[in-house]
Symmetry: C2
Subunit: 539 residues, 2 copies
Amino acid sequence: MAGVFHTTLALRTALRYLSPSCTLTSAATARLLPPGSRKLLLPASSVQSGVCSRRLHAGAGGPTPSPAAAPDRLPFSKVTQEDLDFFKKVLPGRTITDPDLLEANNVDWLKSVRGYSEVLLRPQTTEEVSQILRYCNSRNLAVNPQGGNTGLVGGSVPVYDEIILSTALMNNILTFDGVSGILTCQAGCILENLSNYLEERDYIMPLDLGAKGSCQIGGNVATNAGGLRLLRYGSLRGTVLGLEVVLADGQVLDCLATLRKDNTGYDLKQLFIGSEGTLGVITAVSILCPRKPKSVNVVFLGCETFEQLLQTFKLCRGMLGEILSAFEFLDSECMRLLNTHLKLPNPITDCPFYVVIETAGSNPTHDEEKLHNFLEEAMTSSLVTDGTVATEDTKIKALWSMRERVTESLTHDGFTYKYDISLPVERIYQLVTDMREHLGDRAKSVVGYGHVGDGNLHLNITSPAKDPALLAAIEPFVYEWTAGCQGSISAEHGLGLKKRNYIYYSKPSQAVALMGNIKAMLDPKGILNPYKTLPDNLR
Amino acid sequence: MAGVFHTTLALRTALRYLSPSCTLTSAATARLLPPGSRKLLLPASSVQSGVCSRRLHAGAGGPTPSPAAAPDRLPFSKVTQEDLDFFKKVLPGRTITDPDLLEANNVDWLKSVRGYSEVLLRPQTTEEVSQILRYCNSRNLAVNPQGGNTGLVGGSVPVYDEIILSTALMNNILTFDGVSGILTCQAGCILENLSNYLEERDYIMPLDLGAKGSCQIGGNVATNAGGLRLLRYGSLRGTVLGLEVVLADGQVLDCLATLRKDNTGYDLKQLFIGSEGTLGVITAVSILCPRKPKSVNVVFLGCETFEQLLQTFKLCRGMLGEILSAFEFLDSECMRLLNTHLKLPNPITDCPFYVVIETAGSNPTHDEEKLHNFLEEAMTSSLVTDGTVATEDTKIKALWSMRERVTESLTHDGFTYKYDISLPVERIYQLVTDMREHLGDRAKSVVGYGHVGDGNLHLNITSPAKDPALLAAIEPFVYEWTAGCQGSISAEHGLGLKKRNYIYYSKPSQAVALMGNIKAMLDPKGILNPYKTLPDNLR
């Protein structure tokens, strides 16, 4: 009883900062220490020192490699001196062959997949991309399109010696219309740079994710990135208005419309959203951006049970309505990793579950009143046991980092097996509980976090080192469990190299066959990002 | 001055009803007479008496038919007695061959296109659709998939003797999840029935359109219908979560997921959204539905100039923010037609332009306060000259009908040439002005209305009867004008039969060629809705 009293008091203290009579600037965060940077990426040195295997999860000398393992190299041509001469002519000074300079492009952020490409091309224009692909297609040279290389499924790095085609230098904003909020830019623009550009103009990007400081908009679109704002602004399938794409044969497909509505024929751009660079190279994007909210609030709450967390979500959707912009969660295991590895202190008392709620609206007084009413109700009905509120930008960032830096904390905990699952929202934590029970003490940590509002669980399992026996215990258990709930084995990360052969857990064979037909139609030689997205048995 | 004073007073009267101290139930509409039903469709008798030509806009004996005219019949098989025997076995009592019963299915709502199909099939299950298509494909019989037959571009009726495959009897709701708001239903469910079903469960459909009483969700998805709520809830490309589709060869493609996020491979369902039944027959839909707003308000305003209307839109987006759910407009010519043909009186004083603004939110007090502040500012800055406000359901419907029934009023004005154009929002009315000047007294009426928030203009031109000379003055002028602004010649109506050959005004030839490849891949014999969507020169 004393505990409940104490935490209730703590939340009441926090609530005082949200009183409608209190202005935004005078509001502050209660009980929160500054938790440092939001940046997700490891320093380049740690990437460069990583020792990785291109053969993922392969059984330790066992006869059957994991379905995540790379298949044999396909019979693409190998890069010759003549090829290099051509590339250097098209991209003088931007055709990189120095192995040291290539290192960071050959390995993924998780250091879980390593290719051995010997050529990195850095075009600046669509025409250059077109020339390169036309040439590679005619020479049967495989190409790995690469954005910010922040993907988590081994989709953004070469598997063998594919030529790396980086969009990093294609980073110009082309147009922005301050009336409609439509932004047009090259594919290599970094998400955070676009966000900053827009915020100065009273708009925001419709997507936000932890990797924003490195990921590129072209890669975001190619992987149909979800992230933290999807609950409010919807997926890229709705917000992306147009794309310019270079096809495998070098043809430029100009679908870079800047119109909110266009029903003239089939919506071809949709083919490229989420196809992970296997159907074409996205070179420019037009995207509809929402107005910058005049008022943003973030709440960090603790719940005793996941059922209470779901009840909090329902209450919140009803009471916050149109100003709810995010409802994220992490469990106590995530909090332990944040404390241990990143020295981020828990801003509230220890609880089994934590929630990050963000509101974004046009009237600070109305928003604070809605939030106040919701928190009072959540507290009165004992759905939440403790909480803290932030209305100032730095404090908001600090609270967000508790959610955004979980991925980073996991990299310090050991080798991480990552799963990105869509499930009916009532079931999302059951998978974590069942997995813990199933694995017993074979795993170091089994943690769950993610996007409650989207029914999207990030399930992560760590071990001191790569552990084929542990992997065999996790898979196919996790996929069968997900398929049993008609879930998706990749909610937002895509399939890349690692998950490609698990596609049948979420898609019927007719659908996968049709995907194969689409690939064959658009890239008959299969040069674009081979070994990714589609299962081996299509080839 | 006196006039301004008067209209300002009128709006002040209206504003009183919106005062934050006034509860919703006591609020009412000022200065508005009941304008009758919202229903868009003509009675069946008027459809049946229509005499139409299947050759659209063909020059009066001239040597060059309009690009909208039907091409020659393609060499499909003709229906034999043996075929009918097969259909009757699969669909006993639901294989219709009585010409009288077929009449309404052979002609479109505008009575502008007439086919002469002799067979109407009314399956109830996906398996039946599959059997029919497998058979038709093997027999090379052309098929016209038909939903509510409310399309405006001749896409929903046969051009020659195509078999009509109606989804009207596939009208079961399959599941509804009250936590996630995800509805799954058969394709033939009528939009208004779904809306009613959801409203009882505290949800709404994410789309709404004038034809709601007749149009079917399968047809809505097949045409990527936009409508009145797109500004708020986005397009069907974001809200449709899953589709079940029967392909031309009878194969059932099950992509009927009920997950908000799923990045396992290419998003095949997008191919069928907006493809107007040319790539497959949609048999079931899953769709994400928003919560029913606790508070809805509608405002009808008058503006002196279109520039003031745009300024009102900008102000409104800033001040109403997240509760703005629609911003529609009509011009004084539309009002004249509503008055003349439907006897709907103008609810405010005569103005050159009228605006319908809808708000939808979770807190009636907050919404009314936001609306009040916006209206006061719009009035003070003289952006609007008169207005009226509705907060009660019947009054809201009455105000909405001023916008929704414009299409109906046009059918009484004469033969209507309809254009559905996407443009940068600043340009949308310039096209109406330019067209009026261009046509002079050759047209009976030239009217503009539509979705300002989406940059979508409905430009309609009437004449006492079909008039090839008038048409020659309108086209290609309207398309060239649109292409000159990088607009779309079909924002939401699709291309169907009438607009198929104009696709190049909005899409580059590479894109159209790729659409042709997709069609050939999915429907190699071209049996599905032939003569629609894709231009003749692909064949």
